[in-house]
Symmetry: C2
Subunit: 155 residues, 2 copies
């Protein structure tokens, strides 16, 4: 895997996302990497990320699925354009639609592994399928439709 | 509206949820009330709940939709059983499926209004439709399938 995460390439003016911005010091600061044709984020929730005692809060899991996917979408688009992630113009994606299925309670206190598979790259749209595991069990699955942010939106 | 929110009725042993538990002092502590046949949560995101500068983080919006809905599901079930929310046994719901559509960017720095409509109460399942507004504009819609937590799960 690369040493530098997708999120480390985000330009400073769009690196404040609570889930994945490296400049948000109160945020989750998730880090996503290529692992073959899949993308991988590892994240260990904090003790206060509780649903009911002993289990991870569903909103945090949705947040992980979300930011893992927007990062994956950007990486997929750079790859499609055969560009490195530090080339310009920078590509950022926002979430149009997020769907999360909670298949079993996710235990708190262990590292989580979030994997993305790119279902579709079509124009400004990228669709990502996500699987989240704890202790090798699939706890959550999701599908995220990401839309490339217009350049003028970010100015 | 009642003075006491749905979440204030949650028993202490299940009141640690990051989104809605009144005992999670690092959490969002959202408060939901009946407003006629709809349910209503008002929440103002913190400055660090950023997506791109000026807009609210999608994972936080998903979290608000989520906890608003599990609270709504509990209230709907109590109402169906013609019981007050402080009667026993306590009813709690977890999220089985969360779907969120981001219809327009949600501005940061203003109060958000989250409304729930109960689509279905059937056995242990409650389906809630959610609309989230900022400055009277619908920014997010969602649908959440909530499942009543088995009593032995909470012991």
């Amino acid at each position: 895997m690369d040493i530098k995460a997708f999120q480390d390439y985000y330009p400073d003016d769009v690196a404040h996302c609570y889930g994945c911005g490296h400049l948000n010091d109160q945020g989750l600061q998730i880090k996503t990497f290529w692992d073959g044709d899949e993308t991988l984020t590892r994240y260990t929730p904090e003790p206060h990320h509780t649903a009911v005692p002993g289990y991870v809060y569903g909103g945090l899991l949705a947040s992980l699925v979300d930011c893992h996917s927007t990062g994956t979408a950007a990486a997929a688009k750079y790859r499609e354009e055969k560009r490195s992630m530090d080339s310009l113009p920078a590509l950022r994606f926002l979430t149009a639609s997020l769907k999360v299925e909670y298949r079993k309670p996710t235990p708190l206190g262990v590292p989580l592994e979030i994997r993305g598979r790119i279902r579709e790259v079509k124009g400004r749209k990228v669709v990502v399928d996500v699987e989240l595991k704890a202790q090798d069990a699939v706890c959550v699955t999701g599908q995220v439709i990401c839309i490339q942010v217009p350049e003028d939106f970010l100015k």
